[in-house]
């Protein structure tokens, strides 16, 4: 199977869906780039190149650059969605969501329910997440709990190139608003990605590694980290199962509970401050429905309750790192 990067996988998904369905449009800041400039338009394709080349193929009526007006971007997308389009809107860094959050959680997410099931809002919000780029407190957040808590939103966190393509295609064909969280640190990671279109249903976790002694649940960019620690622990004879839920909403509760039923031990690894996080969300699930399986406390490896610091050494310490993940695993195994 051809190897492609996470970035290419997303780009391919967008391109294939745009070819398939003329209602799919892309809008956001610099998704084309160069509009109104003295030089060439369409040569940018997003600050990290994810929408590269789409303007050239589909033109200005399908790939729309916008002013820096995120509320209007999201509103334009949801208004277009309820009237027949399938927009893919970009909020460049997820950190910017605070200027347009109303249009997401009070508007697009609520239309279907609030209007008694009579509206459908098929739109995707693409956004980049995560620390590790030394980009400081306002360009490094993850914020998936913010979306996960909102009824009416579906929330996707692909951890690898294959999933990124299949989940994006599903997101575009889905009839609800979907927040699609792209990990900056994963853009250049490669994997086997089929050329043809395929979808990965939402709410179906992937068992990224099978194991017996301990369950890791990890999201997006934390999945490769969890796998690396699992690998290291295997050398010590510890068998770790790694679950990648792929979507935080809907969440594949069964997959998590089944794994904990088998292992009796759980560590959640999540790039987020700890309070009201996915780490606590999973703990809430398992300490209720999986309580009888538990042989040890549930541990969370998260970021501290701080903004993302700029200095590289502080940022590295801020992220759930192998040392902290391993320590949590050992603590859970010891009890």
């Amino acid at each position: 199977m051809p190897r492609k990067s996470y970035r290419q996988a997303i780009n391919e998904a967008l391109r294939q869906e745009m070819r398939r369905d003329p209602n799919v449009i892309i809008l956001g800041e610099d998704v084309a780039g160069g509009q109104g400039a003295s030089g060439e338009a369409g040569g940018v394709g997003g600050v990290f190149g994810v929408t590269g080349g789409l303007y050239k193929e589909f033109g200005p009526e399908r790939v729309l650059d916008t002013p820096i007006s995120e509320s209007a971007i999201i509103g334009a997308a949801s208004g277009a969605a309820v009237t027949g389009m399938r927009p893919v809107a970009e909020i460049m860094f997820v950190d910017f969501v605070g200027v347009c959050f109303d249009q997401i959680y009070n508007q697009a997410a609520k239309f279907r329910y609030m209007f008694g099931g009579k509206a459908k809002t098929p739109m995707v919000i693409r956004t980049m997440i995560g620390a590790g780029f030394r980009a400081g407190a306002q360009h490094s957040q993850t914020l998936h709990p913010l979306f996960t808590m909102v009824p009416g939103l579906k929330v996707v966190m692909p951890s690898n190139a294959y999933d990124a393509k299949g989940l994006m295609i599903q997101a575009i064909r889905d009839d609800d608003p979907v927040v699609f969280m792209e990990s900056k640190v994963l853009y250049d990671t490669e994997g086997e990605v089929p050329d043809e279109a395929y979808r990965i249903p939402f709410g179906e976790a992937r068992v990224a590694r099978e194991g017996r002694d301990l369950t890791f649940v990890a999201f997006g960019p934390m999945v490769p980290r969890a796998l690396a620690v699992a690998e290291a622990l295997a050398k010590d004879g510890v068998s770790v199962e790694v679950i990648d839920p792929r979507t935080t909403s809907p969440l594949d509760e069964d997959a998590i509970l089944e794994s904990v039923e088998k292992t009796g031990r759980l560590v959640v690894i999540d790039e987020s401050p700890p309070r009201c996080s996915m780490a606590s969300d999973i703990a809430g699930l398992v300490s209720d429905k999986g309580f009888k399986f538990l042989k040890a406390p549930i541990k969370a490896v998260t970021c501290p309750h701080t903004p993302v610091p700029f200095a590289p050494n502080l940022e590295d310490e801020f992220l759930p790192n192998p040392r902290r993940i391993e320590a949590a695993a050992r603590a859970v195994l010891a009890s």
């Binding site: 449009i25 009526e61 729309l64 916008t66 002013p67 007006s69 509320s71 209007a72 971007i73 999201i74 509103g75 334009a76 997308a77 949801s78 208004g79 277009a80 969605a81 309820v82 009237t83 027949g84 389009m85 927009p87 109303d102 249009q103 009070n106 508007q107 239309f111 279907r112 329910y113 609030m114 209007f115 008694g116 099931g117 009579k118 509206a119 459908k120 009824p151 009416g152 939103l153 579906k154 889905d174 009839d175 609800d176 249903p201």
Partner: protein, 321 residues
């Protein structure tokens, strides 16, 4: 632009339906038959009807917390509205929306909106669809004077210009955002001028004159249908009652309220069409009687309707598969 007798009757029928509906809402609210908040549209009927008069079901509007009038003007079913406002099964949103969230996609009504400034960005999106699909249709964003100060509204103005979307911004300046006067909260000398400075044509229009509103809207529509971009109207009007049902309005002097009633758009319309002989008083009286019967029926249906089934509580959050 001269309207036929049938058109004139339709205009009056719409305005009077709003009038009668809202007066009844006010009354049923006081009787405890309507839960929650209600913001009635009394006094602003000519604005909503004038704006929506030449729209089709394929044109869209986005509305506000004060949305009943817009719904009726856009052709929503009055009984479905009353049931919705009473929180009953069979309401336009199954009782899950309520007064501030009535929507009807089949009528191009994108929803009342309880967030001030919530609708304009959405209307730009609906307008964008029309542009991309080359339908010649438009989308209207109703906003109040208060909403004209919300950042989302400003962004929508600029976005519509940049995308060349056929969005029409109908600013209903009724002088107040809740209990604060527009003269205080709108720092600009004029809402229309401010909109114009974003790069679109804009005009101020007398909101108690149905004909003036409709004509101004005609210019906006002409531009929109021709694919030439957005337009803004500042429709100066007055709300007869308080911000919500129950607001004692100590901040408005009796003279101001009297002045508002003196400009009542309905008698003004009646006077205009009867004096010029276009319609007879009897025509209008017949419409009123018919509308009142309809409202009566809607209220009776609303009172009789069951509450929504509890099984609907968790329905329609999103598609499940």
């Amino acid at each position: 632009m001269q309207l036929s007798r049938e058109d004139l009757k339709r205009a009056y029928e719409r305005m009077f339906t709003i009038r009668a509906f809202e007066e009844r809402v006010d009354k049923e609210f006081a009787l405890g038959n309507i839960p929650g908040f209600a913001h009635v549209y009394l006094g602003q009927e000519a604005a909503g009807v004038g704006v929506c008069f030449d729209l089709t079901d394929d044109d869209y509007i986005g509305s506000t917390h004060r949305g009943h009038g817009h719904c009726i003007a856009k052709g929503c079913d009055v009984k479905g509205m009353m049931l919705e406002i009473m929180g009953k099964a069979g309401g336009l949103c199954g009782g899950k929306g309520g007064s501030m969230h009535i929507a009807d996609m089949t009528k191009g009504m994108l929803g009342a909106n309880a967030i001030v400034g919530g609708s304009p960005p959405i209307a730009v999106g609906a307008a964008l669809t029309q542009k991309l699909k080359k339908t010649g249709r438009v989308a209207v964003a109703f906003s109040g004077d208060g909403a004209s100060n919300q950042g989302t509204t400003f962004e929508a103005l600029n976005m519509a210009v940049v995308l060349g979307a056929p969005a029409i911004f109908a600013f209903e300046n009724n002088g107040y955002g809740e209990h604060t006067a527009a003269s205080y909260a709108v720092g600009a000398p004029s809402i229309a001028e401010r909109a114009r400075s974003f790069g679109m044509p804009a005009e101020v229009v007398d909101g108690s004159d149905f004909f003036a509103v409709r004509e101004a809207m005609g210019r906006a529509l002409e531009r929109g249908r021709a694919g030439e971009g957005p337009y803004a109207l500042e429709i100066v009007c007055s709300r007869f009652l308080g911000h919500f049902v129950g607001d004692p309005q100590a901040y408005r002097l009796p003279e101001e309220l009297a002045q508002a009633r003196a400009n009542d758009p309905l008698p003004r319309f009646r006077k205009g069409v009867t004096e010029t002989g276009l319609l007879e008083d009897a025509d209008l009286d017949a419409i009123e009687a018919q509308v009142l019967a309809l409202i009566e029926e809607a209220v009776a249906a609303g009172l009789a309707a069951p509450q929504p089934a509890l099984s609907t509580l968790e329905q329609d959050v999103y598609v499940r598969y």
